[in-house]
């Protein structure tokens, strides 16, 4: 019985949210605000869940975890952001959080994001018995160097008017970089369609099809709400 009501609720909510694309209407606003309220409550609930299992759970295990009192206090400093006089106290909590996140990323980025990528870009430009491999390697090297050149903003040779040899090579590399990126973004565009259509298919298969009667009822109500919104607009 509970599943039936739930199935109906799910199908109705989905149809009313989709009705927005046809026309912004009251039922869409209802569904949207139900979503915003539940989402906010859910994120608080899961934060409590995480706190319970990381901070309080660990401290219950023994003295060596009692240093976790400090982040709890730092976290509570966030509440000072509401006060006119003591808003700056929140900066201590935010600061520690920002610093730890930044440090973890900044210390490993040189190897993970830069050196490993440089190594992967160094490819043999002549592979004896494999012309396709040679062509692929040339293409990868040129597009990578072109892209890097394109994203350098404050160092650039004179390109207007009589551009010297450096200017010509720079312009060639930047053009290769642009067109190389267009291939990447073309792939990204096609895959965006795959993902977004996949979302719609998933919803139809998992929520709307099993509760077809609920979907129909919701569609009828949505049409009424849209008609009401269109008339109210005139």
């Amino acid at each position: 019985m509970i599943e039936l009501i739930g199935g109906w609720l799910a199908a109705v909510i989905i149809v009313w949210i989709y009705s927005f694309v046809y026309k912004d209407n009251l039922l869409y606003r209802l569904a949207e605000h139900l979503f915003v309220g539940t989402a906010a409550g859910y994120s608080i609930a899961l934060s409590l869940d995480s706190l319970n299992r990381t901070a309080f759970g660990q401290m219950a295990k023994g003295m060596e975890y009692w240093h976790l009192i400090i982040p709890i206090i730092l976290g509570l400093t966030f509440f000072f952001k509401y006060s006119k006089k003591y808003y700056w106290i929140a900066r201590y909590g935010v600061g520690v959080n920002v610093a730890v996140g930044a440090a973890l990323a900044l210390r490993t980025a040189p190897m993970a994001n830069i050196i490993r990528q440089i190594n992967a870009a160094i490819l043999p430009l002549w592979v004896a018995d494999d012309p396709l491999k040679t062509f692929n390697n040339w293409l990868m090297v040129l597009i990578t160097l072109g892209g890097l050149t394109y994203f350098i903003f404050t160092f650039f040779p004179k390109t207007e008017g009589k551009a010297g040899p450096v200017g010509i090579v720079y312009k060639a590399l930047v053009t290769i970089g642009i067109y190389g990126m267009m291939v990447g973004f073309g792939y990204l565009f096609a895959n965006t369609i795959m993902t977004r259509v996949g979302f719609l298919i998933g919803i139809i298969l998992q929520y709307l099809q099993p509760r077809f009667e609920a979907t129909l009822v919701a569609i009828i109500l949505a049409i009424i709400a849209i008609a009401f919104a269109v008339m109210k607009k005139k």
Partner: protein, 284 residues
């Protein structure tokens, strides 16, 4: 200021939306079963798990996708979990985003056959949601017991039999990141591969695949599954018909419709662009 209200006729966009919905619902109601090939990138992942990954090895799986992304990522997760369970690997599920517990329960309810004959606590565990983003991933890498006290259901980690010799990154043979975001992959590349040298497997949305391909090409991950297409291919390889395969026909019809729209739209555009626009000249 030009006064005539140039409003697009109400129906145009809405007609297109309705055509899109129809192009998806029809093949879903009666699937045609169009053929799909298996791409090499998916085969590489299958071969790694089949041949290189030792049987019974511990694998961490981070479920980091929101509910909308279930269509693309749940079938991937289900197909790979089936393959890992066939090699009776020890699966440690975790989630560094709040949706994790929802999508884990939904995975178990939509694919119960995967977990048949598998015992919670000895074959798989679910550590639940851990806040913190990259710091959470870094802490887990150093020590699971040092980060959380109990799993998602309140059982102390020490009481979970399979977790006896699983605690830090080095104890895992593979980390499977199923994420609808982009940053998650960067976190694991920096905090698990760069720092602890643990092999990574990416499970990404189609839209995210291209931008994290450089990590895979630089051998910082053993491979990647990209969206519903890879899910359908992997389902074929492990012989489990799931949402991936069921969606392929509808994907083809929808793609055909959008391709037609793009081509017609651009033909009209080229036609209008070649002759000067009379409307422009008159208005000035």
């Amino acid at each position: 200021m030009a006064k005539e209200e140039k409003r697009r006729p109400f129906g145009m966009a809405q007609v297109i939306y309705t055509l899109l919905i129809i192009s998806i619902v029809i093949p879903l109601l009666n699937p045609v079963g169009l053929p799909i090939g298996i791409s090499q990138t998916t085969k590489d992942v299958y071969n790694y798990i089949e041949n290189t990954l030792p049987a019974g090895s511990p694998v961490l799986i981070d479920l980091y996708y929101e509910m909308a992304a279930r269509a693309e990522l749940e079938p991937q997760a289900a197909a790979v979990v089936k393959h890992l369970f066939e090699k009776n690997c020890k699966l440690v599920f975790v989630s560094t985003i709040t949706y994790g517990p929802i999508v884990f329960e939904l995975l178990k309810s939509t694919a119960p056959d995967l977990f048949e004959g598998k015992q919670y606590g000895t074959d798989y565990v679910f550590l639940g949601y851990i806040a913190g983003n990259e710091p959470a991933v870094a802490s887990l890498a150093q020590s699971i017991r040092g980060t959380i006290a109990v799993d998602n259901y309140g059982t102390p980690i020490a009481n979970l039999t399979m977790m006896a010799n699983i605690d830090k990154a080095e104890d895992f043979k593979l980390v499977f990141i199923v994420s609808s975001g982009t940053d998650t992959f960067g976190w694991y590349v920096r905090q698990w591969y760069t720092t602890h040298n643990v092999p990574l497997l990416f499970g990404a949305l189609s839209v995210i695949g291209p931008s994290i391909k450089p990590y895979v090409d630089a051998k910082q991950a053993i491979g990647m599954l990209t969206g519903q297409r890879s899910a359908a291919e992997y389902e074929t390889l492990v012989g489990r018909k799931g949402l991936g395969l069921a969606s392929m026909d509808a994907q083809s019809f929808a793609h055909a419709l959008i391709l037609v729209f793009i081509i017609i739209g651009n033909i009209l555009f080229l036609a209008t662009r070649s002759k000067p626009k009379p409307k422009e000249v008159k208005k000035k």
